[in-house]
């Protein structure tokens, strides 16, 4: 039984619970003390000794249930196929005998032992599953079974043929069972390895390839990132408050005291809080990444207090309120579909967008504002209105353009990126989270 406990601990470690040697010894003593009869008591005891935070308790709960629910061969169909009428004979291989006599317990034991010999707890990647299935089956003596099946199919007589076909079906069920078992073991032992890989993969993947279900995780990464940036930001402010001696001011103030530096004056670095105006393209040409850019914008809205957000396609509309009113999932759908926002989904018209901005919102800009444009600058060969972009640049502190396309495509076809380039303070390709992280840092960094 202690081997089982060890395996549970290995599985827990693989799922990211840190367990030291002394803790595993505690668990062992605890298990000895309370015994293995009462499942709930055992679970509570192990939970107290192994899982040391709320998060770890949750992981423990899941792992424990998965671990001890591994029932072996309780497939109801097995019984019907393997009627005891087909008596195993002396010459049959051990596996054949077990299958024929329908001894589920023995089969389960044999499977576990074989898996143990194949070192199942070393499984880490889903690509290894087949290998382990094969090894386990071989460990159980698949060869002998196959030999018996071949032999029976050659023999004459109804009973032999019947026995042979029954064995074949039993063999399929055996495969099924072993596959399930390996599957379970994989989810037990490979928990963290897989998760780490997914996370790394998510950080570097091109945004357009993201699948719907990964957005959730993606958002967590962004939130973590935004939080880190927030921390950086507030720390900067704190140290700057202490202030430096302002020599000029001190001298000036102390003239009255005959030049004796009686009343020192300090200068504190004042931190500019970021003030952002964001314009996001949601047209069809950026459809694949629009959702991501909006997600980014949403996170930015949570992190930055003074931000005005707009989306555009054929025209420009303000959407700041959407971010405040709705949860992220709903907000994203609303923005992409443009429910009740008055956005027109024709061809992208950057010229019109800039005209709209100039007409309605130009006074948003001040010398403290950062303008952030997310888009591919594909203007359908319309008037690019570079002059208005130049005006925006003049009125704001800086203009940052994040383009989901790699630089090689800028200026090709109907892309006006090259023409917009001179008006921008910073143009970055932005198609991975790593890109975003760098850009956000730039945004929040203050210039001394």
């Amino acid at each position: 039984m202690e081997q089982v406990l060890q395996n549970l601990i290995i599985a827990l470690r693989a799922s990211g619970v840190r367990i030291s040697v002394s803790e595993s010894m505690d668990a062992m003593y605890a298990a000895r003390l309370v015994g293995y009869e009462n499942r709930q008591t055992l679970k509570d005891s192990l939970s107290a000794t192994l899982a040391k935070s709320h998060r770890e308790k949750e992981i423990f709960e899941a792992s424990f249930n998965r671990f001890f629910s591994l029932d072996g061969f309780s497939n109801p169909e097995t019984d019907s196929y393997l009627a005891p009428a087909r008596e195993p004979s002396e010459e049959d291989a051990p596996l054949t005998q077990m299958l024929l006599s329908g001894d589920n317990t023995a089969l389960s034991m044999s499977m576990r032992e074989a898996a143990q010999r194949a070192d199942i707890s070393g499984i880490r990647f889903f690509t290894q599953k087949n290998l382990y299935i094969q090894r386990t089956l071989q460990g159980m003596g698949l060869e002998g079974l196959d030999r018996d099946i071949r032999r029976l199919s050659k023999e004459d007589g109804a009973s032999s043929r019947q026995k042979g076909s029954a064995l074949k079906e039993a063999r399929d069920l055996l495969f099924e069972n072993v596959r399930n078992f390996v599957e379970q073991q994989f989810s037990l032992f490979a928990g963290s390895a897989t998760r780490e890989i997914i996370e790394k993969y998510l950080r570097n993947i091109r945004l357009s390839n993201l699948e719907q279900q990964d957005y959730h995780q993606m958002r967590a990464i962004i939130q973590r990132m935004v939080k880190r940036l927030n921390d950086l930001h507030s720390r900067r402010r704190k140290t700057s408050k202490r202030g430096w001696l302002d020599l000029k001011k001190t001298l000036r103030e102390n003239v009255a005291y005959q030049g004796i530096l009686f009343d020192p004056r300090w200068k504190a670095k004042k931190i500019d809080r970021p003030d952002i105006v964001a314009l996001c393209d949601v047209s069809r040409s950026v459809e694949a990444v629009a959702r991501f850019m909006l997600l980014f914008l949403y996170s930015l809205n949570e992190a930055v207090a003074r931000i005005r957000s707009f989306i555009f396609c054929s025209n420009l509309v303000e959407v700041s309120h959407v971010f405040e009113e709705y949860e992220v999932e709903e907000a994203l759908v609303r923005l992409q579909r443009g429910f009740g926002l008055g956005i027109k989904f024709g061809g992208t018209d950057y010229g019109q967008v800039f005209r709209d901005f100039k007409k309605n919102w130009l006074d948003l800009l001040s010398n403290k504002t950062t303008v952030l444009i997310l888009g591919d600058a594909r203007n359908n060969y319309g008037n690019p209105q570079t002059d208005i972009l130049g005006l925006i640049r003049e009125r704001s502190r800086r203009l940052i353009w994040l383009n989901p396309e790699p630089p090689a495509f800028w200026g090709t076809g109907d892309s006006e990126m090259r023409r917009y380039l001179p008006s921008c303070y910073l143009v970055k390709e932005c198609s991975t989270v790593n890109h975003l992280e760098r850009v956000v840092d730039l945004l929040l960094r203050t210039q001394a």
Partner: protein
């Protein structure tokens, strides 16, 4: 050390019964952890939201085991002179003054300074002995004959340094005093540490403890708790009250009502001779279990639904 203990805590059910007699309803999880801690001589780190009875657990454990409770309340800046031991400076000074003559007499005949020093050395650390040591909670817990329950309350409020100091006590039940040496526990105390999770405790500390997370209780358990703590409350009203509180906890509140606040509310209802929950009654007494104006507003918005459901469920 074991002999006096074995009569208690023979089994997990025993603990549950014993605690219930002492007025504390504990879940299976709590009882199991106590049982383990008791028999493995391990401290327990108790975590959970405020007001679920973490501190009470220790008090009840002391009642149940019939040993005294020593409590150390942690706060920022708590150090060893307040938690562990301190020298009785005054006593040391006083004694040297009183013994001045004695010393003179004793040193009479010593020719040189060297000789007097070496004579003094025969009695070396006389002023740094246990007589001059003022034990603080941690040390007195170790020294008490017959064992104690040591409660280190809100250990998350203390500093990292203090946490390091605790490690020696928690793992080996001993304290090192530089001037004296190692002081071992006469009988091992039953140690409980509570934390509200304002900061993550260090790995080293967690490794030495059993970990117990006490969540808000399930409705059944909470009804049981109210039954034991406020026996005057009618069964019908108890059901409504618990159902109401359980629903309130699901709302997005700044501070969800804790068990202790449920108990307070139950007492208030008894005082008001309430027979069932109605909206006016609830509205007037909301402030017994909600401590923020915003929370009260949120609950008032949903008052009709929640109260209705509570009445139906009970």
């Amino acid at each position: 050390m074991k002999h006096h203990r074995d009569q208690h805590a023979a089994s997990i059910e025993d603990i549950q019964h014993g605690f219930e007699e002492a007025g504390y309803i504990c879940s299976q999880q709590i009882a199991t952890t106590l049982f383990l801690a008791y028999h493995l001589d391990k401290p327990i780190l108790v975590e959970g939201p405020a007001g679920v009875g973490k501190t009470d657990l220790a008090k009840t454990a002391a009642t149940y085991l019939r040993i005294p409770l020593i409590r150390l309340q942690c706060y920022e800046g708590l150090d060893e002179s307040k938690a562990l031991y301190e020298w009785k400076y005054g006593k040391q000074l006083l004694y040297t003054q009183i013994l001045k003559d004695k010393l003179n007499e004793f040193l009479k005949g010593a020719e040189s300074l060297d000789a007097s020093i070496s004579r003094l050395h025969q009695y070396d650390d006389i002023f740094f002995s246990l007589h001059f040591l003022e034990p603080r909670p941690l040390l007195s817990a170790l020294q008490r004959e017959g064992g104690t329950v040591l409660l280190v309350d809100e250990v998350d409020k203390s500093d990292q340094e203090f946490e390091a100091l605790l490690l020696e006590i928690l793992s080996d039940f001993q304290v090192s005093v530089p001037e004296i040496g190692t002081i071992r526990a006469i009988s091992k105390p039953f140690v409980l540490l509570t934390s509200n999770n304002t900061r993550e405790m260090s790995e080293a500390l967690k490794r030495r403890c059993l970990h117990l997370f006490i969540p808000f209780p399930e409705p059944k358990l909470e009804r049981e708790i109210i039954r034991v703590r406020v026996p005057d409350l009618s069964e019908n009203l108890r059901g409504q009250l618990v159902s109401f509180i359980q629903q309130v906890r699901k709302l997005d509140l700044k501070k969800p009502p804790s068990v202790s606040e449920t108990i307070d509310w139950a007492r208030v209802l008894v005082l008001l001779h309430a027979s069932s929950l109605n909206q006016d009654l609830v509205r007037d007494t909301l402030n017994t279990f909600l401590k923020f104006e915003e929370d009260i507003e949120i609950v008032q918005e949903h008052l009709y639904d929640i109260a209705g459901k509570a009445l139906r469920e009970a």
